[in-house]
Amino acid sequence: MSFLTLTHLEKTFGQNRVVKDFTLDIEKGEFISLLGPSGCGKTTVLRMVAGFEQPTAGDITIDGKDVTGLAANSRNIGMMFQAYALFPNMTVADNVAFGLKVKGAPRAEREARVAEMLALIGLSDLGGRYPFQLSGGQQQRVALARALAPRPSVLLLDEPLSALDAKVRVSLRNQIRQIQQDLGITTIFVTHDQEEAMSISDRIVVMNGGVAEQVGAPFEIYNRPRTKFVANFVGTLNTFEVEVADPASGRVTLAGQSLTLPDAPLAARAGETLSVALRPEALRLGRQPDAESLLTAQVTDVHFMGSVIRLKADLAGAAVSLDTFNRPDTPPPVVGSAVEVSLSGRDFILLKA
């Protein structure tokens, strides 16, 4: 049995069904992200695990024990909030020690644990400061240390980085992941930022309208999205209409070129059109020997982003994005020029509505 299980969870506020039949098994030490647009029920799922909301239906177990009816303060769960959650009247050290104090840990043990936690987050010198004397990033690190100090069985994080600026956000998310792996603590991380979720998670749960649309490793979610929503929410997508030539072998035509789609046989008849999608990096600039087909595109826009160059172009009647790596010896194409683009049928994603 998994370490943390959510079984057929439901939550209704008045008439509003916010979480619908949510089932998820999480292994010990796993880092799971709940990813989805604002209002899709991520926080509500997290709050049910924490014990701040009572599920309308369904069960939650932690380490084999049913905790569904257990009060929040007896679940032994570490929680990190978006912001403003440090106790303003206490120093950093007292904040971190709070959970241990509540548990009645002796002073010597508390002090040792606080020192250990402050070292873990790299703020050993700031134990005597008050929260208002810290930067936003430092405050969130203290919040993490405070949550971890009482050795919780599960760590819950609700968009802990969204109030920070971009640089701090990236470095802190890596630090969170590092600490999580070092401690091997089972973690649920809520975010609406797909890049954040993909870069640090073992598995991602993509949520939409209170439903878990797809659960999988970042690689799987990105490359094999099962629904249109997941495909669009995670990463950029180019969509094309293709004509089915031979459903049994998966052969279709796009702008007169023949391509073979994955997942044959196709659930369509010959002559029908299908909606398919390609990631920007699956459209490759120039003539690639291993590609199935070669098309010409008109460049309409060039974004030089450093290591990656993102082009906008008209290709086979569709406006597409395509990514190519920067090379010091090759300047990017200019707007208005025609470029050759290689693509292969196997990279296409078939979208369910």
């Binding site: 014990g51 929040a72 929680m79 959650a85 303003p88 709070f98």
Partner: protein
């Protein structure tokens, strides 16, 4: 134009507040014929009646403050946390003592808790003291509630509560270690206001026939010439000392500076 108006307001303030104060202080110093002296103050301070009634009122004030904190802090906290939609209602209720005269409240008390009632509080001195304390707490309620509620607005009550709960804390711990310390400045300003109100209160103490400072001032005022003025100056000084302490407390609580 605005400047002129400001000066006008200041002048009016001086005429209405400072001039009587000056007159009263000046008069209180004239007990000895021909020279200024502190004789009136000495007479007041050595009066055993003064000491007894003042001591009584101070003790009553402390109990009222303790009761007020125990009543108001959890209530205001709970309303903010769990029933924010009820806040206007609760606020209205706490304002009622401002529009209901103290005499009405105290007659209501006497009627409800007289010696032939189900809870004969007025039957004993201790019972009457308790009743008087409830009365004082009612009078101080508008100030206390507002102060605490304002204090609670400066912190994220919901998030702090949940953070503490996830760390294992129960309601008692949350209230005493997190909520109260964070609104301490506000609670203390409410406390000093309560103190000032209780020290000067007359109606309730007189009608319940308790030996408080307010009735003493009245008796003294009716029978002496210079002492009442001295007493008034003393009472005034106490009130202002309370106000000063409110300022001091806000200045000195360390973490509160962040909010300023």
């Amino acid at each position: 134009m605005t400047r002129l108006f400001a000066w006008g307001a200041l002048l009016t303030g001086i005429v209405f507040f400072l001039l009587p104060l000056y007159g009263m202080t000046e008069f209180s110093l004239r007990m000895r014929r021909g020279v200024y002296s502190l004789d009136a103050y000495r007479a007041v301070l050595v009066d055993p009646q003064f000491q007894a009634t003042f001591g009584y009122s101070v003790v009553m004030a402390l109990f009222t403050i303790a009761f007020g904190i125990l009543l108001v802090v959890p209530t205001a906290y709970w309303v903010r946390l769990k029933m924010p939609e009820l806040r206007p209602v609760v606020e209205f209720i706490t304002l009622l003592p401002l529009v209901i005269p103290a005499i009405v409240i105290v007659f209501g008390y006497i009627r409800l808790y007289n010696t032939s009632s189900w809870l004969p509080l007025t039957g004993s001195a201790m019972g009457t003291n308790i009743l008087l304390m409830f009365g004082y707490a009612t009078l101080a309620l508008p100030y206390m509630y507002r102060a605490v509620d304002t204090g609670l607005r400066t912190i994220d009550v919901g998030t702090l509560t949940e953070a503490a709960q996830s760390l294992g804390a129960g309601w008692g711990t949350i209230l005493s270690r997190i909520i109260l310390p964070n609104v301490l400045g506000a609670v203390l300003s409410g406390a000093f206001l309560t103190f000032a109100i209780v020290i000067g209160e007359f109606t309730m103490a007189a009608l319940l026939n308790r030996p408080a400072f307010g009735p003493y001032m009245q008796i003294l005022g009716a029978n002496r010439a210079y002492e009442p003025s001295a007493l008034a100056v003393i009472a005034f000084a106490i009130t202002w000392a309370c106000m000063g302490l409110i300022q001091l407390v806000t200045r000195f609580s360390k973490h509160e500076r962040a909010k300023a």
